[in-house]
Symmetry: C2
Subunit: 73 residues, 2 copies
């Protein structure tokens, strides 16, 4: 599958920025958002083709909209 991971990488990078700006560790944020800690790490590394429901969990965990989460992605 995996052609170029760009959208996943850009998304992961964006999540990492927002998550760390919010003062969370990966593990802390994952617990907060209701995700697995290894999954969160994989998303931030651009290795996970995350589905919409989990995108929403991240947006909610960051207290922003999904559109904002994709801003610049």
């Amino acid at each position: 599958m995996a052609k170029r991971a760009d959208i996943l990488e850009r998304f992961g990078k964006r999540v990492r920025e927002l998550r760390s700006d919010a003062g969370y560790s990966q593990e802390g944020f994952a617990a907060h958002a209701g995700l697995d800690r290894t999954y969160q790490g994989g998303v931030e590394r651009g290795q996970r083709n995350i589905a919409l429901r989990n995108v929403e969990k991240i947006a909610k965990g960051l207290k922003i909209s999904v559109a904002e989460l994709f801003d610049g992605v």
Copy 2:
């Protein structure tokens, strides 16, 4: 799993609007975006928890950014 399908439904509705505003049928758009006709239909009906790579296909098919696609969702 499935709590309320809202994000999927709202996303599907948004896709349907944009797709039909762009003058495409489901079938025509699906072919254009590289998806199956019935898959596209399922997305628009909020029945598919679509992952990021396919979200991107739809955004590209509509010639907008993913952030724009989620605008108002």
